[in-house]
Amino acid sequence: MDRRATFKGTWIAAALIAPQLVLVFIFFYWPAAQSLYWALTLEPPFGGGNQFVGLQNFEAVLSDKLYWNSVRVSILFAVCSTSLTLIVSLMLAAFVDRRLSGYQVYRFVYFWPYAIAAPAVGLAFRFIFAPDAGFVSAINKAFPNLWNPALDGWDAFILIVIANSWKMIAYSFIFFLAGLQAIPRTITEAAAMDGAGVLRRLWDLQLPLLAPTFFFLLVINITESFVDSFGIVDITTGGGPARATDLMVYKIYSDGFKGLDYSLAAAQSIVLMTLVITLTFVQFRYVERRVHYK
């Protein structure tokens, strides 16, 4: 813990931090608290006071088959997309880190997908993977009806996984690359002197030293898959077919804003919020411990 030099002036400090605190209160804490309030009460559709109903909303939510479907889909989506993303981005980072000729070009281009909005990604992939246009459906000429995300739930699922991963690979790639480049060159050289070849060094040296980055990205990716996926789903599958891609965040939107059932949406929001907070919390704890080992 190094000595920090500070200024005197509590009023100035308070004034400086006030804007952010006010904003955070109005747009984060109050809505979060209100969400809890709504989840625990029933709002009459025509106004008037809310009635405290305890965990009734939660019971309704948790006993809804459709809800569990969306949970299942969300978790599967998170697992598939995150695995795909982390494996591919790690590989790409390891390749680029070798600094073969032209590596700057690769580093430059690999990052671009991050800049593209989720719905744009969704639309692009919707075209590429469309059942009646694009490219992939060329397979259907040889094997009729093999690929049809409009009808086949699994095809639709694969579509959104690929779209999401494409974007997240770009983001994760940069962090992995930064992590690899933070490994001091002297350590790599020492390992080479010890007789370890490129692949050996990757396994014994670079991967373990990347562990903090890995866990950080693990949680970022999982969180993003719960959150950023909305844009993709809305543009491509709308939750279908037959709710095969009905992610939790999408369901909240359709229940709350299309179905106008705020209490239900609020209860679902609380569950989703708890899930996300737990994940982030777990990561920070775990990473803290790992990082301290250094």
Partner: protein, 318 residues
């Protein structure tokens, strides 16, 4: 590279090229699709060379979707979010790192926690607040004023509670629907920038602060003369991230704007498709033209700012 590994290098190159294709291909396809006419684009598979209808498609989709207005909106929102985020992050991080007061860590954690919950996860209540932005202040004030009464009622002393004067503050209703403020403020409220700035400020050597003190500079002087110039790389990285983030916002603008003249470019993508996959297919060449137009600004920002961005991230990562 330490040793000579020609075979491994070959495969590495191969893999990287495949990666390059996979990264760039979708963008290329979108571009090509936007240059064909409708029958060509609906061919399976679509030809990979650009067609001749580029300008026609762009012009059509631009006017049909009124992209002029939408772009302006997106640009205003993204710029103001970026500026707001940077300004607030800088001063908040400054307060946390360079001052010492008792509630400092409390405030820090209060802000830090917001990182855990992105906007999409709390759309429902945030929307309610946006409908009446002063309601939290009003609510909190009323809660505090009526606190004793509420507490008494809670423990069952209804009679006593009722006897106490009922205080109520009523603030004017401030509806953020269909307004720039509504589009901008909720996006500025999270802590990403503050966290990055804090990491950077903590890497400033303490002697620099002490030298400034000896030179007679107060905190604000130090902030302006020393911290801001030194954080230029940081700022560039943060500005890029924020601009792209704000421009690409989809769910929140969808909720907060209902009038077409307030919608953003990214939102417009939804209008390009009549329905989900199992509905009627979109007019693909126009849809792809629209996608390309919407994709371009943030992509260009990233391409140009990438030099600063990667450097800033690596610093923050440490």
């Amino acid at each position: 590279m330490i040793e000579r590994t020609p075979i491994l290098d070959f495969f590495t190159h191969l893999a990287m090229i495949i990666g390059l294709v996979l990264a760039a291909l979708p963008i290329y396809i979108v571009f090509v699709a936007s240059t064909h006419d409708l029958p060509t684009v609906n061919q399976v598979p679509m030809p990979l060379t650009p067609g001749a209808d580029a300008w026609k498609n762009y012009a059509t989709v631009w006017t049909k979707s009124d992209f002029g207005t939408k772009f302006l909106n997106s640009f205003i929102v993204a710029s103001l979010v970026t500026l707001g985020k940077i300004a607030i992050a800088a001063i908040s991080a400054f307060s946390i790192v360079f001052f010492n007061y008792r509630l400092k860590m409390v405030f820090f954690w209060l802000i830090f926690v917001t990182l855990m919950l992105p906007l999409e996860v709390r759309i429902v209540p945030t929307y309610a607040v946006a409908a009446n932005a002063l309601s939290p202040v009003e609510g909190l004030a009323n809660l505090i004023l009526n606190g004793p009464a509420n507490l008494l009622a809670f423990v069952g002393l209804d009679g006593v509670a009722r006897a106490m004067p009922q205080l109520a503050i009523k603030l004017p209703e401030w509806n953020l629907l269909n307004s720039y403020t509504g589009l901008i403020l909720p996006l500025v409220a999270t802590a990403t920038g503050t966290f990055l700035y804090r990491q950077f400020f903590m890497s400033i050597p303490p002697e620099l602060v002490e030298a400034a003190k000896m030179d007679g500079a107060g905190p604000l002087r130090f902030f302006k003369d020393v911290l801001i110039p030194l954080s230029r790389t940081n700022m560039a990285a943060l500005a890029t991230i924020m601009f792209v983030y704000a421009w690409n916002q989809y769910l929140w603008p969808l909720l907060i704007t209902t009038k077409p003249e307030m919608t953003t470019a990214t939102m417009q993508l939804q209008k390009l498709v009549p329905g989900p996959l199992f509905g009627q297919p979109p007019v693909w060449n126009e849809a792809m033209a629209g996608t390309l137009i919407v994709m371009l600004p943030p992509l260009l920002v990233v391409v140009f700012m990438q030099r600063y961005f990667v450097r800033g991230l690596i610093q923050a990562d440490k």
